[in-house]
């Protein structure tokens, strides 16, 4: 069948299966229908809930301003889909074009979209992770459990890892008057994502808001009492912190295990796909019927040296899902590349933190607006003489400008005069990122090299 005829048939009566029923899966389904796909559509999700929004779980929900059970995503349109919720996909047969489900069913497809996202990395010592009072926060169920426990007035909450989620949790606890200790292996919070210069500001924010912040330490063990409830956390500096709630915020693991042996180029850093969201197989050959979107995808980006980027970003899930859905039902020349500029936000200690570009690629940072001391500033990151990223603390309206600078490959250090440049902004300083070979919990943008067939990297969290 000629390509055009095939795509016409596909749009009319093809079978599209989406594995992953969260933000990316839902927006892809809506885009398919909006673009005229009238065939059968199946959404498969391992959680028994309709698509819900996750960011509120560590913010509005913990502050008591939203219910963990009521963050369902609004629908842009009717999608007329078959929902298979509460049943995980367990395997993929690329040759037969079938997805295997945990209940033994097999679902055939003409086009497949994989949007299985990530899951919270659990505490590596299993017996300790099982203790009552030890939580992770990623899913709605996690949110419900944690919400309930925080409402029971714990004496102290202990957060392992000061990435974005860990910092947001600490912030919400402090706002509710709960005592919090945060343990971070690096020298400051957020350093994996934003570097040491900005991390120092984040550390001040923690401490000023009454967080007992311990940096440069590792948690060596969690101790339970005789009834199996967590009682204390032990630190590498010999410290012991008594606590009744431990929240493990050590970042996320890609949900690619179910693809093992499938022949796709899937591994612990995600599923490699081309700029058009088509998945690579393990030989580095692009498929044409399997697409990837959202947190589980790794895709090359022209602005960042064509390195594969893995992005744990809400906006990327939406944008990539739209491109993937469009390309799934379009012939060659009508396809679009996914060239979204990474962007994310976080809200903690009453400060709005936003970023565009890839800060962790930056060698140097220059404060171009405001000042670090005031916690209201824009920092611009430079890499090899050009602007690669920007971060704002309570200064979001500038970011659009910097996004354009990144897209244009504007020179760094920036030369334009700014309206309120302060002394610290006159020269770039090292951005002070930790050694990239050390896995950290919270870069949210992961530069994952050039190999489309990355299956061998095994990430082993540090055993203590």
């Amino acid at each position: 069948m000629p390509a055009e005829e095939f795509h016409e048939w596909l749009r009319r009566e093809g079978r599209i299966v989406i594995v992953g029923a969260s933000l990316a899966g839902l927006r892809a389904a809506e885009t398919l229908r909006a673009e005229g796909f009238t065939g059968s559509l199946t959404l498969i999700g391992d959680e028994p809930y309709e698509p819900y929004d996750r960011p509120p779980l560590s913010k509005a929900v913990l502050l008591g301003k939203a219910s963990p059970e009521r963050t369902e995503l609004p629908r842009r349109r009717e999608i007329d889909a078959t929902w298979r919720l509460g049943v995980a996909a367990t395997g993929l047969d690329l040759a037969a074009k079938r997805v295997r489900l945990a209940d033994g069913d097999e679902v055939p497809y003409d086009r497949l979209l994989i949007a299985t996202g990530v899951r919270a990395r659990p505490w590596p010592k299993e017996d300790e992770a099982q203790l009552d009072g030890v939580f992770v926060l990623r899913t709605r169920d996690d949110g419900v459990r944690l919400h309930r426990r925080l409402n029971a007035s714990p004496r102290r909450v202990f957060v392992i890892g000061a990435g974005f989620t860990g910092s947001e949790i600490a912030s919400a606890c402090r706002e509710r008057g709960i005592a919090v200790t945060v343990a971070e292996r690096a020298d400051a919070p957020l350093v994996g994502a934003l570097g040491g210069v900005v991390g120092a500001v984040a550390a001040d924010m923690h401490r000023e808001n009454g967080v007992d912040l311990r940096t440069g330490v590792m948690v060596t063990g969690l101790e339970g009492d005789s009834s199996g409830r967590v009682r204390a956390a032990h630190l590498s500096d010999g410290g012991v912190v008594e606590t009744d709630v431990v929240i493990v915020s050590l970042g996320a693991t890609r949900n690619t295990d179910w693809l093992e042996g499938s022949g796709l180029g899937a591994g612990p850093r995600g599923i490699a796909c081309d700029a058009g969201c088509r998945a690579f197989d393990f030989r580095g050959i692009v498929t044409d019927d399997v697409y990837v979107a959202g947190d589980v995808a790794r895709s090359p980006h022209a602005l960042f040296g064509y390195q594969f980027l893995s992005l744990e970003h809400w906006g990327n899930a939406v944008a990539q899902a739209e491109v993937a859905a469009h390309n799934m039902i379009s012939a060659g020349a009508d396809r679009r590349p996914h060239l979204w500029v990474p962007a994310f936000w976080s809200s903690q200690f009453g400060v709005n933190i936003k970023s565009v570009g890839v800060p962790s690629m930056g060698d140097e940072i220059m404060i171009t607006q405001g000042s670090l001391a005031e916690r209201r500033f824009v920092g611009v990151y430079g890499h090899q003489g050009r602007v690669i990223a920007a971060v704002s603390f309570d200064n979001t309206r500038w970011l659009e400008f910097y996004q354009r600078q990144i897209e244009l490959g504007a020179p760094f250090p920036v030369e334009y005069p700014t309206v309120d440049r302060r002394p610290e902004g006159r020269k770039p300083v090292p951005a002070d990122f930790p050694d990239p070979s050390l896995p950290t919990h919270g870069p949210t943008v992961i530069l994952s090299g050039y190999s489309p067939a990355d299956r061998r990297l095994v990430f082993t969290p540090g055993r203590h």
Partner: protein
């Protein structure tokens, strides 16, 4: 009624917090906190907030009476 705010787009103009203060509140100078599942009684105010957002960052469904399950697009979130 379900809603979500694209906080990449949100620039803290606070129009929503002014028009539907029971649903949207500013947290600090420019962070927005909102209830993603407001009660029906707020529908009219949320509709106005969606329309008033200068950067069109709010997507909501169920803003008008509609057959169950048929969400409407209040913002195309692009």
């Amino acid at each position: 009624m379900r809603l979500v705010v694209d906080l990449n787009k949100c620039q803290g103009y606070a129009q929503c917090a002014f028009l539907a203060p029971d649903v949207f509140t500013m947290h600090g100078e420019e962070s927005l906190v909102y209830d993603p599942r407001p009660e029906k009684e707020h529908r009219e105010r949320v509709t106005r907030a969606v329309a008033a957002c200068p950067v069109r960052a709010i997507t909501a469904d169920g803003l008008r009476d509609a057959p169950a399950g048929a969400g409407q697009e209040a913002s195309d979130a692009r």
